[in-house]
């Protein structure tokens, strides 16, 4: 299989600029994500990381246009997929993109397949909806896909109902469904958080293989920095609907600039440390408090209330994302941080 070169000379596959998504609430509206900028080139893996409530799922739902019309107040900015803006496109063109250029791998492997149909039938259904192929060809393609997902006996899995499969197998089937129409980009919504730890790594490896062998660009969200360090080329850290830090994964992990990123990295438990300290009353690191209520107006830095570094100024002025000194020599991705203490470039 051929490696896809990762260069910046080409146009980005997905280019999100100044995206703000507003949701209707009883007392008016609230921006669940604010001024999001993301740029993904072909063949890259970008991981968005944050707690629940950070806006990472809303970012994905905005890209997939899956926010129910009843809830949605409106979008600002642009989501360009191969140069065409999803937000100004008519519904029919949007439908065409789904599955063809962009597809979703969902979080809940256990519940994301229809329990009433054999899994093979479900993949065939997706293929027939978007490609002009015969049923027999669709079936052949499905078996082939299942084989590529590392499934040893694809014929048997094809004939199985979802309840007969383990979580890991179901997640493989879901990835096969997402790939069934050769999308350019896969959006993966916490694809491993519902799985056993032993299976998580298999699924991550599979996604890496897909990225390498099919050249599929992957945008993934997670709350787990372990996944970031295993998978990501680029990382985006989100907090309360804003990007607080972004950059190449190695820069952000090796030299985190935002206190939130630092805290998240500290939250990863080191088993040896826990074991050796389990008797002397030390507790694991955690971030005090919780993600702020976005329906209330926040002046200043949104993380200030929970930040270990916060000073009086933090709760008065909202910091902008600014460029910081990147460790790596590669210049194709700026390292940005939304903190007044970030060391500037």
């Amino acid at each position: 299989m051929n490696m896809i070169e990762k260069t910046d000379s080409q146009d980005p596959v997905l280019n999100i600029e100044h995206l703000t998504t507003k949701i209707k609430i009883s007392s008016g509206e609230v921006s669940v994500i604010e001024d999001i900028n993301l740029k993904l080139n072909k063949g890259e893996i970008m991981v968005v990381v944050g707690e629940s409530g950070s806006g990472k799922s809303m970012t994905i739902n905005s890209i997939m246009q899956l926010i129910p019309k009843k809830l949605l107040k409106g979008y600002e900015g642009s989501i360009k997929l191969d140069q065409s803006d999803l937000l100004t496109m008519n519904d029919r063109d949007k439908w065409k993109l789904r599955g063809n250029k962009i597809s979703l791998v969902t979080q809940n492997a256990m519940t994301s397949l229809d329990p009433s149909y054999r899994v093979g039938k479900q993949i065939v259904e997706i293929i027939l909806a978007s490609q002009h192929v015969s049923k027999a060809d669709a079936k052949g393609k499905t078996i082939d896909l299942l084989k590529k997902m590392g499934i040893e006996d694809p014929e048997r899995i094809y004939q199985s109902y979802p309840h007969q499969l383990s979580g890991g197998l179901r997640q493989r089937v879901i990835i096969a469904m997402a790939l069934s129409c050769n999308p350019e980009i896969i959006i993966a919504d916490e694809p491993t958080s519902a799985l056993d730890p032993t299976v998580q790594l298999q699924v991550l490896d599979l996604l890496k293989d897909v990225n390498r062998n099919f050249g599929t660009t992957i945008l993934m969200i997670t709350h787990d920095f372990g996944v970031v360090s295993y998978m990501a080329d680029k990382v985006v850290v989100m907090y309360a609907g804003q990007i607080v830090e972004t950059g190449l994964a190695k820069d952000v992990i090796n030299d985190p600039q935002h206190p939130y990123t630092k805290s998240l990295l500290k939250c990863i438990p080191d088993l040896k440390w826990i074991y050796s300290n389990s008797n002397n009353n030390t507790s694991l690191f955690n971030i005090p408090g919780e993600v702020p209520d976005l329906t209330k107006k926040i002046t200043g830095c949104r993380f200030a209330a929970r930040c270990f570094k916060a000073v009086a100024q933090c709760s008065q002025i909202q910091p902008e994302l600014k460029k910081v000194n990147a460790l790596s020599s590669e210049n194709n991705m700026e390292h940005l941080s939304r903190c007044i203490f970030a060391k500037e470039d």
Binding site: R98, T106, P115
Partner: protein, 319 residues
């Protein structure tokens, strides 16, 4: 799957035996002596005794039961002393008429009930949803005979679009169109309550299903909403809907008895009404037996359908 179906079929046997015992005992619980009823108040004791032994009434109850069971299994439903004719030849054609009315009501109830329930769920909170749900919660509590009378008053008397009655001979010269014409009002009257009940349950079942993960996953592909709603949402909402339809069949059978009387539909209900008025016990017994068997049979079908559409009961492929 076949294992479940066969065990369900076997389960019918004790139920049917229970039905026959209840129906048989019922006639013996009713006060009064059938021989006395037949011969009248001035019959002599010897005449009564003679008739009793002719009818087998002097035998022990258990022997009477098995005699009767032997007869009904061979299709002999007994003899009506008020109509002076064989019950089977009188009741069976009427039973078919009742089945026509029941099936027509059932079809209306399923189409309108499931259809409007699905639409209400999909357009939850819309004006259609609110108005329809308000109407159906009122509709579910109106008795059939009142609806029948109101429909008759409105659509047969005030605006004579449909006939009041006159369906005397179903296999007469009118043909199927004439049958349909006479069927409209009684079938609607019988089905309306069930439409409301089925619609409410369908709405809830679909609402439960529509928020499941697989629905939003399938929405992320270019499948049309109609396709997803029919082949995935409704498909998975089916088991509770089929169950409520099965229960509503019992209600429709009961409601059809009223409609038959109001609209003079020549069915079992009307025959039962006449039989009850004239204390024709063997006729009542046979009528109840037929209706009960019909109900048991419908429940059997509902259960078999539910077994067939549940993949978890299919033969396992992966084990």
């Amino acid at each position: 799957m076949y294992k479940y179906i066969i065990s369900r079929l076997l389960y019918v046997i004790p139920v049917l035996i229970g039905v026959t015992i209840l129906v048989f005992l019922m006639i013996h619980l009713i006060p009064g002596d059938p021989a006395q009823t037949i011969l009248g108040g001035e019959a002599t004791k010897s005449a009564l005794a003679k008739l009793r032994s002719q009818m087998g009434l002097d035998q022990p109850l258990i022997i009477q039961y098995f005699d009767w069971l032997k007869k009904i299994i061979t299709g002999n439903l007994g003899f009506s002393y008020t109509l002076h004719m064989n019950i089977a030849s009188e009741l069976l054609p009427k039973f078919w008429n009742s089945i026509i009315l029941t099936l027509a009501s059932l079809v209306i109830a399923i189409i309108l009930g499931v259809g409007s329930g699905v639409l209400s769920a999909i357009y939850k909170g819309s004006i259609f949803d609110k108005v329809f749900m308000a109407i159906s919660s009122i509709g579910a509590s109106i008795p059939v005979f009142w609806i029948a009378l109101m429909l008759m008053w409105l659509l047969a008397l005030q605006y004579p679009i449909f006939p009041i009655n006159g369906m005397v001979n179903m296999r007469g010269n009118g043909g199927p169109l004439d049958l349909l014409y006479h069927l409209v009002l009684p079938a609607f009257a019988t089905s309306l309550v069930s439409v409301a009940v089925i619609a409410q349950l369908t709405r809830n079942a679909v609402l439960d299903e529509i928020k499941k993960d697989y629905v939003s996953f399938f929405k992320s592909f270019n499948l049309s909403k109609v396709h997803i709603n029919i082949f995935h949402v409704l498909r998975n909402a089916l088991p509770p809907i089929i169950n409520i339809i099965g229960l509503q069949v019992g209600y429709i059978i009961g409601g059809a008895l009223f409609s038959e009387i109001v609209f003079s539909w020549p069915g079992v209900g009307q025959a039962m009404y006449t039989a009850i008025s004239s204390k024709d016990y063997p006729m009542i017994q046979a009528g109840i037996l037929l209706i009960a068997c019909g109900f048991v049979f419908v429940n059997l079908i509902v259960d078999i359908i539910n077994i067939m559409i549940n993949p978890k009961l299919h033969e396992s492929v992966s084990k």
